[in-house]
């Protein structure tokens, strides 16, 4: 096994081009487990830790450019106001030790359906900046997850950054595990209200072969909000609408039975989380609207 430690992004891309089977290692919180358990014996490990820019973020007018290796701890500490959904999800990632090391790039690289960042990324509508010696391209998050633990990266590509729209409305994340702490989610749900476009986006984790959006639920809710003038009048969402939204979220899932929970429970729990997170985000939206009006 070789351990390559490129000092720059260009060196990293060259190394990846030369060794397309090299396994990139950022925080190491997934790759090291696989190596320790002998589940994976890569010929080459590509250590991205020395590439400073991967640890940087930039908050622009409309978007946040998040380096692939920015740790969850940094996201929680610095980006809560502009990326509330991702920050909330980051808060639930594993343990402080792991949050100090792991970042969104690793979650995207592994593309495990149980990764905590995915629902928030899907709900935000972000794009993933990937690069190779051939050039750079942006992959919309909706096209990023292509199969069980498979993503849209070509063998010679590396994840450089994630471009997330700055939150224009309330965002929430919720997950259900078999116990309180350090869970790998039984299932997880993220929701983002986008008042500027009067849309709603969602993300579901651990309830299908890949992280997915509940598109029918999003469309239903957007239409119902529009129809009732809720964006403007800030009224409470009728229970029937919330229930229908929850059912559509449940219906979007395609969970399997495994040791972390039965399929029917996952589907049900998703519905519960969908209703609750919708309630929380909508309450926050109404509160913001009220205080905006008062001001």
């Amino acid at each position: 096994m070789d351990f390559l430690r490129p000092a720059s992004w260009e060196e990293a891309l060259a190394a990846k081009a030369e060794h397309p089977t090299a396994v990139p290692i950022a925080g190491g919180t997934d790759v090291m487990v696989e190596i320790n358990f002998d589940h994976r014996r890569p010929d080459v490990l590509l250590d991205l830790n020395r590439i400073g820019e991967l640890h940087d973020w930039e908050v622009g007018e409309d978007t946040v450019r998040l380096g692939a290796s920015v740790s969850y701890t940094r996201i929680i500490e610095n980006l809560r106001s502009v990326l509330p959904g991702l920050a909330t999800a980051s808060h639930t990632v594993a343990s402080p030790q792991i949050r100090n090391r792991g970042g969104v790039g690793g979650n995207l690289g592994c593309a495990s359906p149980a990764g905590d960042a995915h629902p928030a990324l899907l709900a935000s509508g972000c794009e993933v900046e990937v690069a190779s010696v051939r050039g750079t391209r942006m992959i919309p998050i909706d096209e990023f997850y292509v199969g069980v633990k498979r993503n849209a990266l070509a063998p010679d590509e590396l994840i450089r950054a994630i471009h997330l729209p700055r939150a224009d409305g309330p965002q929430q994340f919720s997950k259900v595990g078999t116990r309180n702490a350090m869970v790998i989610a039984v299932c997880a749900f993220g929701i983002a209200l986008h008042p500027s476009t009067r849309t709603v986006r969602t993300g579901i984790g651990s309830a299908a072969p890949t992280p997915i959006r509940a598109k029918a639920a999003e469309e239903f809710l957007a239409a119902a909000l529009e129809e009732g003038g809720f964006w403007d009048n800030g009224k409470i969402i009728p229970p029937a609408v919330a229930r229908q939204f929850a059912e559509l979220v449940s219906g979007a899932a395609n969970p399997i039975d495994d040791v972390r929970g039965s399929a029917s429970y996952r589907r049900h729990a998703l519905g519960v989380m969908a209703r609750r997170t919708l309630g929380w985000t909508w309450d926050e939206y109404r509160g913001n609207e009220r205080s905006a009006r008062c001001a």
């Binding site: 351990f3 402080p96 030790q97 100090n100 429970y265 519905g271």
Partner: protein
């Protein structure tokens, strides 16, 4: 690669892909512990440039030019302890101490905000022993320890002797030794649930550079044994070979590769070629008993298997009275089937052993030393000597500090193969289980299926109890019969009932073997019995505690199990009524504890249990106390310390009897060299058996010293008394140092032995009560209040005993709420990591209020009883009863996971939408 560790510069090259933890341990920083390899347990936490990381997930090569701090470097250089280390000593925030280094490093990096949010801050650190209360107290600066005073030891909160080593990372656990020329052993395991090995080709494995030997069934003795360790080996079937030509579960040993490095041994394992003839298999115990099922152990009488052709390794059938007549006399009946799951001990130190030679083994004084993570050094030596035809004096078995056991190390799971490899290669050999191996290559709790029928009269009296119990012992029968028998004893006997009957079967299946585990079968049966008591009370419209009060045995009653009365078992003290009262007081305080969230269902429930203070058939301990040249004492006991605190108690007993302070008593222990014999640290015997031997030795030495002093001074014996560092004779103070000198001049050794055979035995009692809230939308259970009453007789060290109770409750809550070793349709374990097998974290563990009863036992040393296994036993039924009270639904299958609870509520129409 250069890096700085604890202020010292190192220039060493790690391997690519090697983690920082392994690298640091290789440099001799043994304070960094290996617990899981996956960033789940936190025992390996170190600081890199001041930031806490799991060193098992940190590539060693990344530490280039960085500063690493391990627990050994936590204290400032001035010789003082770090304030966090001080805190863990003051609160005794550890038991086995294996997790402590990680907790210290995590705690040391907490700021005030994080300290205020411990559930989140401690998400990355697991403790299996304490139940976390003591750790929280350590972080919060609560001091529990008291100062020693001469002759006043028993009943006081004195600290564990190993504390200073535990908090500085200098306590030496099993694998914390550097042995020159060490070879590493790795095991190739069976991919099949049942197969005959037609052929094994080791050629390619032997060709791997660094591989020294490959061992197969051709190299193993024919002799059959049991991995279970008991004083009387005939308690277990002889059904196991070191390496067998038939494999009976996925994960069984097939071959062992011994090499210069673990990596080479692993590579060797991958290159062993095995030709298997697959055989039919069975993983369900009921199916295994049916005619035509595959016979897993077609062996003769010498194996002591009850009915090999039916896969029944042991069975029990007993009836007192006439249960059918009892049912006919009953006004209410309840009948239900209960199921318990496989649970892993999950001690943070895995199984393993290191063997080396002292001198030339073939010379008369040459010896083999086996350092093992064991609860039974003496019984393991005995088994090794039998297996390999070695005289006992040629083998020494010694335990370092053991990082947790819980019964899992009352087995010889590794020492046999390590010794075979050492004898073969004549080199030192080490085997350290990985965390996954703990799940598929060690043992679990026995899963039980318990069909109960019970009846009571309108006036609230039990009339009849009948049970059919099927215990799944897995592919081997270690502890199978004994766990079944124990499960059917005190669980029945604690209730007065004229008619009792049991039919119990311990059954082989092609699954990972079950073994000894805290409670030893009682937890499983108590879950069923106490659930049924609750139901009977409800049918009678009686308060369940009142129903229990009417039916529990009184202090002067016989303890009758379906199998009859155990002759050497007595109620040496009786606190059961007080335990019931503690629960009733808790019920009468509805405002205490956490408030339930809006819309959640609230209920309360309790359960009680009884346990014998030691196993049947005798349990032997020898102790020896010797006056030292410096006027202190040396106490030798054979029993092992794995966090249960026996060392603390033994030292207290000795100091008390000798009129001195505990710091003047040093201890040698867990070593076949230090005393004649010790059955081991199991069966709740550390205080009552080894403690009694210690008491006897200490009393005998005190008498001897007084006699000698009186004679030496020519005064009356009655005028002499033991003091801290002297004997006071008629107002004159003779230092013990001087007496030692005088005795030496007279060619006498001031030393005494104590012995106890573990019989007669008493019984200890426990009761657990919970108030819970249940979210009808998600099935989430929140514990609002937890109260535990414990009758441990005279409590030798309340701080430590409380820790045993808290730890037992926490461990039982894991088994009640979410822990389960899951096997697939071929019996293969699918939960072989802490990410898939969840242990309770700090956030999962409520504070349990512990109440001791003011009893003094007539049998135990100084009035003490045991309190190590028993807190586990009433927890699951108490929680299930509280859940029943909250929801109206009786849950009969453990664990009570959120999805199961929600599905149960849905099926009974209790579930609600969000």
């Amino acid at each position: 690669m250069r890096l700085r560790v604890n202020g010292r510069e190192f220039d060493e090259e790690p391997r690519a892909g090697q983690c920082l933890r392994t690298f640091l341990r290789g440099l001799g920083w043994f304070g960094v512990k290996k617990g899981c390899d996956a960033g789940d347990c936190g025992a390996c936490t170190v600081h890199v440039d001041g930031e806490p990381v799991h060193s098992c997930l940190y590539p060693a090569l990344r530490a280039r030019d960085r500063a690493v701090t391990t627990v050994e470097g936590l204290a400032p250089a001035d010789g003082e302890l770090h304030r966090v280390q001080r805190g863990f000593l003051d609160a005794q925030g550890f038991q086995c101490g294996f997790c402590t280094a990680g907790f210290l490093m995590t705690t040391a990096a907490l700021d005030d905000d994080k300290r205020a949010d411990l559930p989140r801050a401690f998400k990355g650190n697991l403790c299996r022993c304490t139940g976390y209360r003591a750790i929280e107290d350590a972080v919060r600066g609560v001091k529990h320890t008291e100062e020693p005073a001469p002759g006043e030891s028993v009943g006081r909160n004195l600290p564990a002797p190993a504390g200073p080593q535990v908090v500085t990372g200098t306590a030496r656990y099993t694998f914390d030794v550097a042995v020159d020329g060490l070879l590493h052993l790795k095991i190739l395991r069976s991919p099949h649930p049942h197969a005959r090995i037609r052929a094994i080709d080791t050629t390619r494995a032997l060709a791997v550079p660094g591989v020294r030997a490959v061992l197969t069934h051709h190299d193993a003795p024919e002799r059959l044994f049991s991995t279970a360790r008991h004083e009387h080996p005939e308690e277990d079937p002889d059904d196991t070979r070191v390496l067998d030509d038939v494999v009976r579960y996925v994960g069984q040993r097939v071959a062992a590769v011994v090499a210069d490095s673990e990596a080479a041994a692993e590579e060797g394992c991958r290159r062993v070629e095995v030709d298997y003839e697959e055989l039919p298999y069975v993983i369900d115990p009921e199916e295994a008993m049916r005619p035509g099922a595959p016979v897993i152990h077609p062996k003769g009488d010498e194996a002591r298997i009850a009915r090999p052709q039916d896969n029944v390794v042991g069975e029990t059938h007993g009836e007192v009275g006439d249960v059918e007549a009892g049912f006919a006399q009953s006004d209410v009946l309840h009948e239900q089937t209960f199921r318990t799951q496989r649970v892993q001990h999950a001690s943070l130190e895995t199984h393993g052993a290191v063997a080396w030679f002292e001198g030339d083994f073939d010379a008369p004084d040459g010896r083999l030393v086996v350092r093992s993570s064991t609860q039974t050094p003496f019984l393991t030596r005995r088994a090794l000597c039998t297996l390999y035809d070695l005289p006992q004096e040629k083998v020494r078995v010694v335990a370092g500090r053991v990082g947790g056991g819980f019964g899992g190390k009352q087995e010889m799971l590794v020492e046999d193969i390590v010794v075979l490899a050492a004898l073969r290669t004549r080199r030192p050999v080490k085997l350290e289980y990985t965390r996954p191996e703990q799940f598929f290559g060690a043992t679990t709790r026995h899963p039980f299926t318990i069909e109960v029928k019970a009846g009571a009269s309108r006036d609230g009296l039990l009339k009849s109890m009948r049970m059919r119990i099927v215990s799944n012992t897995g592919a081997y029968g270690n502890h199978g019969p004994a766990v079944l028998f124990h499960g059917c004893g005190e669980s029945f006997a604690v209730y007065r009932c004229p008619n009792k009957k049991v039919d119990g079967y311990a059954v082989y299946t092609n699954t990972v073997p079950a073994g000894a585990f805290r409670g030893y079968g009682l937890g499983q049966v108590v879950f069923a019995v106490e659930s049924v008591m609750d139901e009977l009370a409800r049918r009678l419209d009686l308060d369940p505690m009142e129903f229990r009060r009417r039916n529990i045995i009184a202090a002067d009653e016989e303890m009758i199990a379906p199998g009859g009365v155990e002759e050497d078992l007595h109620i040496g003290s009786y606190g059961l009524d007080t335990c019931v009262e503690v629960v009733r007081r808790a019920i009468a305080e509805p405002d205490h504890g956490e408030a339930p969230p809006d819309g959640w269902l609230v209920g309360q429930g309790a359960a009680l249990s009884m346990i014998a203070t030691g196993p049947p058939g005798g349990h032997i301990a020898d102790a020896r106390v010797v006056l030292q040249p410096d006027g202190g004492y040396e106490l030798s006991v054979g029993t092992a310390e794995f966090g249960n605190g026996t060392t603390t108690v033994h030292r207290q007993i000795a100091a008390g009897e000798l009129g001195t302070t505990v710091d003047r008593v040093t201890i040698r222990q867990s070593d076949t060299d230090v005393v004649r014999h010790d059955t081991g640290a199991f069966g709740s015997t550390g205080t009552v058996v080894a403690g009694k031997a210690t008491l006897r030795a200490s009393q005998a030495l005190a008498a001897l010293v007084l006699d000698f002093a009186a004679q030496h001074l020519g005064v009356a014996r009655e005028s002499c008394a033991m003091a801290e560092d002297a004997v006071v004779c008629a107002g004159r103070r003779v230092p013990l140092k001087e007496l030692y000198e005088a005795a030496r001049t007279a060619d006498r050794e001031l030393a005494a032995d104590g012995h106890f055979g573990g019989t007669p035995r008493s019984v200890a009692f426990n009761a657990q009560w919970f108030r819970v809230a249940v979210d009808p939308a998600s099935g989430e259970i929140r514990i609002l209040r937890s109260v535990h009453a414990a009758d441990a007789g005279q409590v030798m060290n309340p701080m430590q005993c409380r820790g045993q109770v808290e730890g037992g409750v926490a461990q039982a809550l894991g088994a009640t709420l979410f822990e389960e070793v899951v096997v697939d349709e071929r019996g293969a374990v699918t939960t072989a990591a802490f990410r898939r097998y969840h242990l309770p974290t700090y956030a999962d563990t409520p504070r349990t209020e512990v109440h001791f009863t003011p009893t003094r036992d007539a049998i135990g040393p100084l009035g003490a009883k045991s309190m190590s296994e028993s807190p586990f036993n009433p927890v699951a039924p108490a929680l299930a009863n509280a859940l029943r009270d909250a929801t109206g639904v009786r849950f009969t299958r453990l664990p009570l996971t959120r999805d199961r609870v929600w599905l149960g509520l849905r099926d009974h129409g209790v579930a609600r939408e969000a």
